[in-house]
């Protein structure tokens, strides 16, 4: 990816998320709170560094995008108002908007369903995973 493009993407992430990554003091409370910590390759407290270093490619390819539960624990507990959850959501937005890289394709879905599965689950997963 070209330098200009990553720069622009990093800016977009800041814009979409409304997060100022410079506010982070690297206390790690987000990672200490995250229920998906062990599933993530890039940990919540590291998100800010990737955005600050314009390393969006790595962030975009990270598993973490699809492991974040949007449970808002990091957002609630962050003492610096950085809200890593918003950053990761913005990165996810960027990926699904920019590429056709839907995390799940429609024909993958039926095999995952069961009769009790609530409608809400499908709706939210679709919002999260696909454009």
């Amino acid at each position: 990816m070209s330098f200009d493009k990553t720069k622009k993407q990093a800016e977009m992430i800041r814009e979409i998320s409304g997060v100022n990554p410079y506010k982070c003091m690297k206390c790690g409370k987000c990672s200490a709170s995250c229920p998906s910590f062990n599933e993530m390759d890039i940990k919540p407290h590291q998100f800010v560094s990737y955005v600050l270093n314009d390393d969006i490619e790595a962030l975009a390819n990270s598993k973490s995008l699809w492991k974040c539960l949007s449970c808002f624990a990091c957002i609630e507990r962050c003492p610096r108002d950085v809200k890593p959850g918003k950053l990761i959501d913005a990165a996810r937005q960027l990926v699904v908007r920019e590429r056709d890289g839907d995390y799940l394709s429609a024909d993958q879905i039926p095999e995952k369903l069961d009769p009790e599965l609530p409608q809400q689950l499908l709706v939210s997963a679709f919002r999260r995973y696909r454009r």
Binding site: P35, I75, E76, P118, Q119
Partner: protein, 264 residues
């Protein structure tokens, strides 16, 4: 008393029980849930991106319809409540979103967050009152040890949801007490059940739910209650352990609304 009511997609399908019991309980408690006409799905997740507008419009429609009727808007599903409450906050406080959403909507009068959004539990607490509720209980759930499961969406972000203390909530415990049962407090009642992750990563959701149920059981809970169909689904998918039910089911039981009545 009439409230505008936003049931949401799940309450029309797998979560019918929640819808039905809530309406029955409401009637027994002297208020009515009036379903909004032609409501549209809230989308399930609140779009965090500050530039998202289209995904918020269904909520704005529901909110505006309540406003036109001069009613407060009541929700049951945690996800719907979360999305609608936050969109309402945007419409009230974020100039850019309000302007752009109103541009799309072309309403006679622009919507600016006038509607009050209440969760059914908030109606019980703040409008009916738990003391009144307690007085109306005909079949107190004596001796039952019940754990409240809040999940994430009702509580966080605490400032906007303003539902309860996000780290140490008490509303469902107070509700349980009003029904005559004994609330069991356990630390994971506000930790995530896994949410939509269970579509694709079933094990992850299961292990998270396991921890929640084990903790509640460890503190002596015989049952969990929740307000969210997705939490209910995930928690029950983590097989074994204590049962998980909707809070409204217990409400009906305590109010003496019988199976026959409920069959209506």
């Amino acid at each position: 008393m009439k409230y505008s009511y936003f049931p949401g997609c799940t309450l029309k399908t797998t979560g019918k029980e929640l819808d039905r019991t809530a309406r029955l309980a409401a009637l027994a408690l002297g208020f009515e849930l009036e379903e909004i006409e032609n409501w549209q799905c809230c989308g399930g997740v609140y779009p965090l991106g500050s530039d998202e507008i289209a995904t918020k419009l269904s909520s704005v429609r529901a909110l505006n319809s309540a406003k036109e009727k001069g009613q407060d808007l009541v929700t049951l599903c945690s996800a719907c409540h979360h999305v609608i409450k936050r969109v309402n906050d945007d419409m009230k406080n974020v100039d850019d979103i309000r302007t752009r959403a109103n541009n799309y909507m072309k309403l006679d009068e622009p919507y600016a967050g006038e509607t009050e959004v209440l969760h059914f539990l908030e109606v019980l607490r703040d409008r009916v009152g738990f003391d009144t509720l307690k007085a109306k209980v005909t079949n107190p759930l004596k001796g039952r040890k019940i754990g409240a499961y809040y999940g994430c969406l009702l509580l966080r972000p605490g400032k906007i949801m303003a539902f309860d203390n996000p780290e140490n909530p008490t509303i469902i415990e107070d509700f349980i007490r009003a029904l005559g049962a004994e609330p069991v407090v356990y630390p994971y009642r506000n930790e995530c059940c896994g949410g939509y992750i269970s579509l694709n990563e079933k094990d992850m959701a299961k292990s998270m739910c396991r921890r929640i149920k084990d903790s509640a059981e460890g503190f002596g809970a015989e049952m969990l209650i929740t307000a969210c169909p997705l939490c209910e689904y995930n928690l029950n998918k983590a097989e074994g352990g204590i049962p998980v039910r909707y809070f409204t089911e217990l409400l009906c039981e305590a109010l003496g609304i019988t199976e026959e009545g409920m069959a209506l």
